[in-house]
Amino acid sequence: MKKSTLFFSLFPLLVPNFAFSVETDAESRNSSIDFNPIVIDSKNGTGATVGIEYKFKGEFAKDFSSKDTGGIDPNATISTAVIGYSGSGTVAASKDRNPKNFLEFLLDAKLRYSTPTTGTVTGGLFSKYETNQSFSNKQLVYGLGATYGKYAFLGSNDFVSLDANYGRVDPKGDTERQAALGGATLNSYYRWNLEFLYMYPLKWNAIDTVEFNYRYFLENNAPTVIKGAGIDKHDLATLRIGLKNDLFVAYSTGKLPFDRKNDQIFQIGFSYKLK
């Protein structure tokens, strides 16, 4: 056995998985860090290297809710300011052989407010930064948003929600946009996006649940060529009928923007699982 093969085989044993979490004071909680030794195949013919995969998350919360000292009050108002962070990435011994993100870091600051009559609303600022290990491919997106939701909206166990955001989009790699712009540089732009969700547990004959989701994206002040190409707006509507035993029929129509393709759960048209 070659020395390098032996080393790669033993590396996970030599460096044990390392994870811990901490519960701290009332103002901060749920912090956790995970490390995982890995062997990375660069997939571009430059060979393998060893590395460490990591992820961490946590939040700092300031609770303004009422401090009731009696019994449990299900009608208690929840009012909290939260700063949440999470990150993940891969550090390789050789940065040229690391095809993964060196760092993907998310930070958000929001207010959370919930009462039994009005429902729950959260809103605030968010940002996301990602880079490869050589820092030659970086992206920064940020914006603000608010989300509202109400359980038992029309029935006793249905749910309605609306999520609205406005933020900066990095179009790196968007071939459709590049084609529309011709030789012009792919600059970042700002975009509105809305998402509506309604779920109803119908429980009628074979139908168990009905779920409707609609997403809408609108570029702010889009250049004429982008409007002309019809890529300043995108929307996607999905109706899913849940049947007994985890079976379903779903129908999707529309299209998501380039940077949100991975958010598409069902293919366009009909999808189903019927047996």
């Binding site: 299900p74 929840i78 909290t80 919930s114 989300t147 779920m199 168990d208």
Partner: protein, 128 residues
Amino acid sequence: MPAPKAPYEWKENNACTATYKVLEGDKFLDQFEDADIPFSKAASVKLKNLRYFPKTTGNTKIIEVLSLEIARKFITDIVKVFTVSKQNTATSSAKIITSIAEVFADGEKTIKDLAEVVDANIKFPDES
């Protein structure tokens, strides 16, 4: 060094039966039918397989809001059925709702995981 925490046991105590009853009951959250998921098999059922968990979106902000809403309804229903109090009187009701919401928000958590957080926060008559 403290002894490792023993895994939570799914059994017919008030915390587990209340969790099951409120999740299953037609008059409560009605998340499944007892014929499909009897009490003895409920422990390992993942929350993402229940009716409340969205199947058309992975939007974490919507799931966060939904989780707070369903956690409040869950506790409202528990209080209707059982005479309960706080395990820790210094904890606010809002914090208990938030702790239970954190479980509802994670679809990979199981019904047993939910019962464990319920038991840690809510004191039932069989613990008096």
